[in-house]
Symmetry: C2
Subunit: 433 residues, 2 copies
């Protein structure tokens, strides 16, 4: 029980035989003469309350008769075990107080079109599937942070408003910052490199923004990303960390969220196979394989969604695609010492066609090379002076990665589209509600 | 030990008598003939390494001679207990590998001006005081989430990009969202009210933005806020929750961050007094008291920093100022049933003059009243239709609050200025680095 004095449906097992107060909303009702069977949800679960005309006052009975879907109410009744009920318990209703009789609910218990659902997202979130997804999202975020904290990482927040672009300038949101142009961040990484030199192992965890005019199943305009950055970690250390992280996080979600995974209809077998070590395939090998399968790419091309799916289909667990051509990746990545035209970068592809969930690399630690890359990419050197400073004052090999929360959740929950993975999705031409 | 194979300084006690590898930066050095005493930091702690010319190779000795402040290095040596050393252990150095000799470090171990420190924030963060502050911040955020999770709250993220303003339109950052004007959020509350109706007890935790042209010790342009929202919680439940939250969070920070609080010079006695219940003073009583003390306000005026300090000075722990005139507060607050010109809102003021750290209220649950308030405040009703919907479909009494991370940390750490409470502060006319 919290600061307020009522019982959560999820905790009913602790109150068997007792009279409890439940506060919630009517999810569904069926009536059989002088008995109402009410399905009540409170955000923690759903319980059936049985109300018999003989057991309650006339006033209470009249209130029950009026209840519409999503009407809010407080009930009092005795908890009893009942295997047939959702959650295994049932309430024998003694009294009721109706708080509000809901207007005709637009999301009645039937199928609706996607545009309609997105327009009523503020109500759609109440459906059992969406509640399960929000719980899975919450758990995913929590487990990621737990793993990192156990491993000695410190959360250090990076700014949203920045004067410079990290991943290219074409997809930036701009705003006026007291007379100067500022951009909404696309990644906290550059700042995390500074804080890693202060604290060793750090992560930032915040929204990021891409003003991309693409309307795909995988793109959000506003999304959340967790970005660990580790001083002294080599490319290999980085991949090992990612394997351990994903193994623990997916394992713990399977352990703690069985009900939610069932609610969203997720086949958990592929998730049970997420165990380190993960297979690896080089970019060059991937290109050969793709050519054999009728998906040829030019060397230097980036992988698209169909290519990622074709590659991942060869493996039963997440797979690293690694050692990309420098030209396809960001300016700050360390060259492969054996083949300087490549960079020590790896993308982790989810199985089952869900695409990239992690992108990581070792970062350039040499001052001269980094400055050269900034110039080659025609980035404004003056804005990167502070970033270059990190290579002048105690530069160390370091690595990091970014994990997109919505991409990862889309995979873990087995969603067709990323839009269900965030409470209020921002899509091309959609900023409401 | 993490994915990479070296020892963190904080864990040295586990390796007494063993040879370990430490990776870090030279914080300071003193030499005495054929012995160097190196203070090495790695982000988890500081350790003294003792290097004797007789014990190391000539190459190693020559490298040690060249070390400048913030040079990066790997050392190998034996761990031994030494009460005089910081952290209680010392390393007898056997070998060293210097990674980079740092350029002349701009933040030498002396006093610097604030503008200079802010301009070199990317390096300033490495100083022991700033490292301690970042650890305190990390712990504060973690403890807040821990309390809420233990109490059954679910984290549900709210959007940064929104089409409407929650707290007034004068201090909003604008951006172009595919041809439409979007704003950076000032609070996730309205969205959390929707998710509370889905999940019961929720919180959002994200950056928020105020384009305020004020340059005070308490204002940041970009700041973090945690905002719990609870369906069915009354005004009193809400205050009780805040008391329990602050008591546990401050208690756990005292328990786990003694070293960090000492590093920043915090007198912990006032923090030890943070125990529920907290005293309360009504707005009307506060005005009377302020008048007696020569700080008169008109009824309906908002409290400024000097007023908050004067009120808080009468109490030895955080104090709620409550029941404000409706006109001084946001449109969505529930009227006081006994005096409808007041709202059921309370601000929690930190002791010692640190000002407001929490603002909370019961929210209006009646559809007609809420619509009336939206009209009175001349807000665009069409943009609030989804918010009004929450009062049409299962409206319930509900309450919530927002806690500003930087304001709270400024108090907990005893800082003169909020700028040290966030890794990369965004201030009026400061967006770099």
């Amino acid at each position: 029980m919290g600061a307020a004095d009522y019982v959560a449906i999820k905790d009913l097992a602790q109150y068997e035989g007792e009279v409890v107060e439940i506060r919630g909303w009517l999810y569904n009702r069926r009536s059989s003469g002088k008995i109402h069977f009410l399905l009540i949800r409170d955000g923690t679960g759903v319980v059936q309350a049985v109300a018999a005309a003989n057991d309650v006052s006339t006033t209470a009975w009249e209130q029950l008769e009026q209840l519409t879907q999503e009407s809010s109410l407080i009930i009092w009744g005795t908890v009893s075990r009942d295997e047939r009920s959702p959650g295994g318990f049932e309430i024998h209703l003694q009294d009721v107080r109706v708080l509000q009789i809901a207007d005709d609910y637009p999301l009645a218990l039937k199928e609706h079109g996607v545009e309609f659902l997105l327009n009523t997202r503020h109500l759609w979130l109440r459906s059992p599937r969406q509640v399960a997804l929000m719980r899975l999202r919450d758990r995913l975020m929590f487990e990621l942070e737990c793993f990192l904290r156990q491993d000695g990482f410190v959360r250090v927040d990076t700014p949203i408003l920045t004067p410079n672009a990290c991943e290219g300038t074409s997809t930036l949101f701009e705003t006026d910052y007291f007379g100067e142009t500022a951009y909404l961040t696309q990644s906290g990484q550059l700042y995390s490199e500074a804080t890693a030199a202060a604290l060793g192992k750090v992560y930032c965890f915040s929204p990021a923004f891409r003003a991309e005019k693409s309307k795909t199943r995988r793109h959000l305009i506003e999304f959340w990303m967790i970005e660990p950055e580790m001083a002294f970690y080599t490319y290999e250390d980085n991949l090992k960390l990612q394997e351990e992280l994903m193994t623990q996080v997916v394992g713990n979600i399977l352990e703690h969220c069985a009900d939610e995974l069932e609610e969203v209809g997720r086949d958990i077998k592929p998730l049970e196979r997420v165990k380190a070590p993960f297979p690896r395939i080089s970019y060059d090998e991937a290109l050969e394989q793709l050519a054999r399968e009728g998906l040829p790419l030019e060397w230097g091309d980036d992988l698209g969604a169909p290519h990622e799916t074709a590659i991942a289909d060869h493996f039963d667990r997440p797979v690293f695609v690694e050692r990309f051509p420098a030209q396809t990746k960001a300016f700050y990545m360390e060259p492969d010492p054996n083949r300087p035209e490549l960079v020590l970068a790896a993308d982790l592809l989810a199985p089952e066609g869900y695409g990239e969930i992690i992108g990581g690399s070792e970062r350039i630690h040499d001052y001269d090379l980094l400055r050269e890359r900034i110039r080659q990419h025609e980035l404004p050197e003056s804005e990167f002076q502070w970033y270059l400073d990190l290579r002048r004052f105690g530069s160390v090999p370091h690595s990091g990665f970014g994990l997109g929360i919505e991409r990862a959740l889309t995979w873990v929950a087995g969603l067709d589209h990323v839009r269900e993975s965030i409470p209020f999705p921002r899509l091309l031409n959609r900023i409401r509600p």
